[in-house]
Amino acid sequence: MKKTLVILGMVFLSAWLLNSCIKDNFDFDKWDGEVNWNPEFIAPALWCDLSIAEAIVAYDTTIQLIENEQGFISLKYNTHVSSRKISEVIYLPDQEFNGLIHSMLIDFSGFNQTGDVLSGSLPGLMSFTMFNNEAEIDTVLLKAGVLNSVVQSTFKHTLQLEFVFPTITKDGQALKLTFFFPPTGGYQATSNVDVTGYKADMTQTTQGYNEVPVEINYTFYHSGSADNSGMILFDSDFTGLNYSWMTGYFGYNSLIFESDTLDINIFKNENFNVDEYYFQDPKFKVFYKNSYGIPTNFYFTEMFAQSKINGQNYSIIDYENGLPLDSLHPYNVSFPYLFGTVREDSIILHRNNSNIPQVISIQPKWIQFIAHAHTNPYSTSHNNFVSDQSSLDAEVVVELPLWGYIDNFHARDTAEFDFDDIYGTAKIIKRLAVRLDMHNGFPVEGHGQIYFLDENYMVLDSLLQSVQDRIIPAATVDANGRVIDFADKLTIIEMTDDKIEMIKNTKYIIYEGHTNSSEYTSHKLVKVYGDYRMKFDVSFELDLGVNVDIDTLNN
């Protein structure tokens, strides 16, 4: 028993002694505080799969793209000008028809005792005043209007009076007004007739337009008075006339007289510049939609463009070969031959029939113009017709098919960049490599650079060391200028701790980029199709070197 206790005691004593040196292992006051942590990471950072259309829209959000059936892309800038409202140009003013029928115009012979009846008819003619002096209207279908009449008789006999408009009809019935007068004399009768739906045929007079015949029918019933003298006064007015359609000859009317501005934003971006470019097939187009049944011409009286190159305004109408769409060279817009139809038409000015290529070459930021359109410029045919919905709209378009070349499309900017803000983090970076895996399907090559500048704008260093690093090759194009294969390139840009030290005083950075079309030096024409894509992946390799005294990290 004693022996056992001795053994146990020795065991525990030994353990206690050993334990004293254990304390050192847990005395963190003796920890040197150093942590050597050198992990290496690689991870994707950015990716992009960009179509050419998305790239263009990214550059100019206002742009419209046209892609034809073959996928060929054009840039489009447009604006619209429209005709004035039809009701302001071709309209029916209020009409007035008045007169006096004296007893001398009526043969009262034999009409002398009570019970006698005298009937007869007098011819009349009502002339219409039109919207212009040249207008010769044949037919009108009224959709609104009122015929207000005031008739007074001074005869001492009972009188029944009718005004009949035989060529103003509705459902086969002529427009007719009937009045009754007592034998008292001086009696006044009134009438208000809605003429909606009546069709007026104004061709049934000798003049053959702007007139309708009127029959004035009277019936006297003898009242016993021996006095047959008297008169009838009438005043009939058409007011509030609106038509559904109208035919005839409408004369010379100004449908469009409007100024507008067409912005060409691709040349307005001040951040980008280009040394040289060439569009093989620029176009200036005017598209018409015309529902006036009237021969009409269209032309510009003024057209100016402001150049981005020198800020000057150029008169396009007179520039170089001139624009063949001025008042001397109006375009006769096609017009419809049937009611309710719209005729579409266009004029296209291009390299071979205008000065548009020269205009585009001056980098026009905008084009300002005044457009005119006039009816019946040459003829007096009575084939004109309009409806209450007739209009003439013109869309003015500058279209730039992406077929050509570009030389040094570039941008450069300076930005504040205080490296001190990230130096604390950056100093634990032993190596940072940015991998750019580019698959360029655009027929443009690119190169760029970033410069690090100190507070005095002195260049400390640049990001890309070799020329080769800076270049992104253009996609391969065939003889027709179409891309046939991607250009692939893997670029690894390394930033070592030495370089970080070199640029630690950076206060500004300058970044610049340049692009050129494929084989631009030989002015090879490339074509841009909608299926072009550019893909790239940016990943980074990050080697950290955290070799620090952990106590200093908060300092």
Partner: protein
């Protein structure tokens, strides 16, 4: 900063412990608690009563078992004294730390409290009852995750190898165990035993990860994440998981009156999470000197029905970085980052369910033998295999066991476990009158040189024993 670092390091160590070991206890036949691991062990007392609820002596020392283990690091693998001009300093040694990282790195805790135990030795049979409170928790960190944190993902990229995180595991288990055991002599050579356990779960968190990997394609540096995992939980407070598809965000909604849900009495008396398990054992006496035995313990499961909560994630996510949107200049970098997070959430998002689930207990198999060198000196050899979260954890123990006197026995063991070869165990039982004190650990070194240990465990308690029963010479036990 240093303090923070140290605390973090210890939390990592402390949050990590391994399974019930009891290598030394296995041979401590005089202590009834050896039956918890060896159902056929033959106790030498007619009646044994133990547990925390035994007045006074049940609490001094408390009848408990504590175990902490990891299969990766000992303290000196992370911090150790330097050499040369740093001989007096403590240094952080990342390289050595990483040298000891394994494919799966288990860190486990076990806290068992023995509330009551009763053993009755009746002729050739032994009947036992026990009521235990068990709290087990731990985490398994995949080796790839630790390598990723230490070295980054570049080595995997260079080797064109995915980062395998499927070994990740999180586990918390709290349950009552009520066990009834019986062992008996089958014939002169064979003894059979078993324990039936009724389990009542109280709280649980467990993970089931079939696939969780991250691969970086060497051609384009794209990352592909794949997940097929489920997180289960059952706890007294209901949790609602909300996934906002519009905003691509998630939220966990806990009731405002959460306190009302947690009533200690209803928590501890919760019968809804029922389970069962059993232990089986057999021994065979080859001759008077040699015997062999085998046992399997904790073969069983618990069904979880109280506020069950399941999060399932299955998906594959290709991460190419943030998309450059030249055409959307209103999108800020911050918004892009949010979109990225939303995208990841959307892909990896968990779907929430509330179905009951089942967890298996970590099961053990013991196979061993004993050689009676002298009447009071026996040598033992024991192999133990534990099936834990799809891992087979093996260990081997050699032991020297002696009942030195009728009131004192001692057991010395050497164990290779948890990838560690320095595990010297010691078990002692000491009886004074009817009071039997016992204390046992599988890693004595851990208590002496904690900086060189991956395991700490101790089991202790005081039993009331009655009727010492001298084991017949012919029997394999003493």
């Amino acid at each position: 900063m240093k303090r923070t670092f140290i605390i973090a390091a210890f939390l990592l160590m402390a949050g990590i412990v391994s399974a019930q070991q009891n290598f030394t206890l296995f041979y401590m036949n005089r202590v009834m608690q050896s039956k918890w691991v060896n159902p056929v062990s033959e106790n030498t007392y007619s009646v044994t009563i133990g547990g925390l609820i035994v007045p006074l002596f049940g609490q001094v020392p408390p009848a408990m078992h504590f175990n902490y283990a990891n299969n990766a690091w000992m303290y000196n693998d992370i911090f150790h004294k330097g050499t040369g001009n740093k001989a007096d300093s403590l240094v952080f040694d990342l390289d050595r730390m990483m040298d000891n990282v394994h494919k799966k790195n288990h860190f486990r805790f076990e806290n068992d409290i023995e509330l009551f135990s009763l053993g009755i030795n009746w002729e050739t049979m032994y009947l036992s009852l026990s009521l235990n409170e068990k709290i087990h928790y731990g985490v398994t960190l995949p080796g790839d995750l630790i390598h990723l944190m230490a070295y980054g993902n570049r080595p995997y990229f260079d080797m064109n190898k995915p980062i395998d995180l499927s070994g990740f595991n999180l586990n918390f288990l709290h349950y009552h165990e009520f066990a009834i055991g019986l062992s008996a002599v089958a014939n002169d050579k064979i003894r059979l035993g078993g324990r039936m356990k009724l389990l009542f779960g109280l709280a649980n968190i467990s993970t089931s990860i079939n696939n969780f990997s991250l691969y970086t394609n060497p051609d384009n540096v794209y990352m592909t994440g794949v997940t097929d995992m489920t997180i289960h939980a059952s706890q007294p407070i209901p949790v609602e998981y909300i996934y906002y598809e519009d905003g691509d965000s998630v939220d966990f909604n806990i009731p405002e009156n959460a306190g009302d849900y947690f009533q200690p009495l209803s928590y501890f008396a919760n019968p809804r999470n029922f389970g069962f398990a059993f232990d089986l054992g057999a021994s065979y006496e080859i001759n008077r000197q040699w015997s062999v035995f085998a046992s399997a313990t904790d073969i069983g499961l618990i069904t979880w029905n109280t506020n069950p909560f399941n999060l399932v994630s299955q998906g594959s996510f290709l991460f190419k970085g943030m998309q450059v949107q030249f055409w959307n200049d209103s999108l800020t970098l911050e918004q892009s980052a949010e979109e990225l997070v939303d995208s990841v959430l959307n892909t990896f998002h968990f779907e929430s369910n509330n179905y009951s689930y089942v967890t298996m207990l970590p099961s053990n198999i013991y196979i061993g033998g004993m050689y009676k060198f002298k009447n009071k000196l026996h040598f033992g050899a024991l192999y133990r295999a534990e099936l834990y979260k799809k891992s087979l954890l093996s260990s081997v123990t050699l032991s020297v066991n002696s009942d030195l006197t009728r009131w004192f026995s001692a057991h010395l063991s050497y164990t290779i476990a948890n990838n560690n070869f320095a595990n010297i165990g010691l078990g002692i039982s000491l009886r004074a009158a009817i009071f039997q004190y016992y204390i046992v650990t599988d890693n004595l070194i851990g208590w002496i040189w904690p900086q060189k240990s991956q395991n700490f465990n101790i089991r202790m308690g005081c039993n009331l024993v009655f009727g010492y029963k001298q084991r017949p010479e012919s029997k394999i036990y003493y």
